[in-house]
């Protein structure tokens, strides 16, 4: 059996279903092509606006300052990029990177319309194969994007490579709810209400069903922390927000 045939036999989760390894990127692209136009409004509706506070908290903990160079992976519509661009100033730089062209376009148009120009670059990038030299960034963030990456270990190792010594990775992602009662309510909301809201607002039930499923398939807090350490990070820790609905993982390269 050739390497190519072996590769095509390998499968990976896409929500609750298994798909051939090379199919996941296309399928995820399909989901985000579909939701890009309504992504911001859906985020607000789905999280009752709390996603803004989660992101703000991540920005707080980044401790970013003028002159820093930041890579906002899976940057989507540019929420974090906007905040970082204001902080790094003229002497710093923020790169908004996303594998999905539609999301980058939405993000670029939105930030340009808001006057965020000059210190932001936009690029279509696969997190598993970053096209930057070693030791380039002071901070790399990936917000609500890691669960859609096919090979997370490879992406984490790449992020570690492009971080400067002393640099920090921040992964903001849905995680495992720590409060049992809330977990039941959250499950009900995710699988019964969320797809219906997707249908109502974005006319796309399937994509929001996938979002709910992909959250359940994402590694829990401790597993992801371990993955970061195995990828080479010298220190890793996480912070649960809203009882673990979202966790902020931070990893440092020394």
């Amino acid at each position: 059996m050739t390497t190519e045939q072996t590769q095509s036999k390998k499968t990976i989760d896409f929500g609750f279903s298994e798909v051939p390894l090379e199919e996941k990127v296309k399928k995820v692209k399909g989901v985000f092509d579909s939701v890009a136009g309504n992504y911001d409004i859906m985020n607000d509706v789905m999280s009752f606006g709390i996603h803004r506070l989660w992101k703000r908290h991540a920005i707080e903990l980044s401790g970013i300052r003028p002159g820093n160079v930041v890579l906002d992976l899976a940057g989507g519509t540019g929420d974090l990029t906007k905040a970082f661009a204001k902080r790094v100033g003229k002497t710093g730089r923020v790169v908004l990177a996303d594998i999905n062209e539609s999301m980058v376009r939405v993000g670029r148009d939105r930030l340009t319309n808001e006057g965020i120009i000059g210190n932001v670059n936009y690029t279509i990038t696969n997190a598993e194969a970053l096209t930057y030299p070693d030791n380039t960034f002071d901070l790399v963030t990936i917000s609500f994007g890691l669960r859609n990456v096919t090979n997370k270990d490879k992406a984490l190792a790449e992020i570690y490579r492009v971080l400067k010594p002393g640099g920090q990775l921040m992964v903001l992602e849905f995680s495992k709810v720590t409060q049992p009662l809330l977990a039941k309510a959250y499950d009900f909301y995710s699988f019964n209400i969320l797809p219906k809201m997707g249908k109502l607002i974005a006319d796309d039930e399937d994509s929001y069903q996938y979002l709910a499923e992909s959250i359940r398939m994402h590694p829990d807090q401790e597993t992801l922390k371990q993955m970061m350490l195995e990828a080479g990070f010298d220190k890793a820790e996480y912070l649960n927000m809203s009882e673990g609905i979202v966790a902020l993982h931070r990893g440092w390269k020394y």
């Binding site: 506070l53 703000r56 908290h57 920005i59 707080e60 903990l61 980044s62 401790g63 970013i64 300052r65 003028p66 002159g67 820093n68 905040a83 204001k86 902080r87 100033g89 003229k90 002497t91 006057g115 120009i117 000059g118 002071d138 901070l139 002393g166 920090q168 912070l239 927000m241």
Partner: protein
Amino acid sequence: MDTSENSPGLVNTSLSKLFETLLNQAIQLDDQQGQAFAACDEKVIQLTLTDFAQTFFLIYQIQPDGHGIFSVQNHLMGSPDCHLKFSCNDWIQNQPAYNISGDETVAEAFIEAVKTLEIDWEEQLSKVTGDLIAFKVGSTVRQGQKTSREAKQKIGETLKEYLQFEIEVLPTHSQINRFAHNVQQTTQAVDQLAERIQRLQNTSST
């Protein structure tokens, strides 16, 4: 490395967001649009409120359109350009005493810029209520401030007179001056006497 000691909770995050909004709102409403902050461009100012042991890092950036905005956060990678410590209580009483470390030029420019912030509340109110109501509210507030100032002055003078002349527990300014003068004369006389004794002792021993 991160210089902050503790991870802020969501409450601290909300506080810094609130502070950022208030600060930027004040700059927007300022007659000069906060131009006095230009010296703080691309600088990080650490503010510590000693009463609450609360620290904020303020980053001022002049945007491509020429307007400056502050970003406020609880954490910082590396060290700030300057560190200002002050008490909110002193600040409210209009007697702020700043403890400055780091780049004093930036710190002083920031303090001066804050002092020059002048918001024309009456103008802002008139946009909502119309000129007539805004003028009436403005007059009432100004009258209230004048009355309060006069009352404060009168109470101060009455209390001073009562303590100094009625129950005589506090000396007057001239009494203190006279006392200080007498103490000074006595000190000089004692010093002269000590010097003379020293000379006599030296003479007798030889």
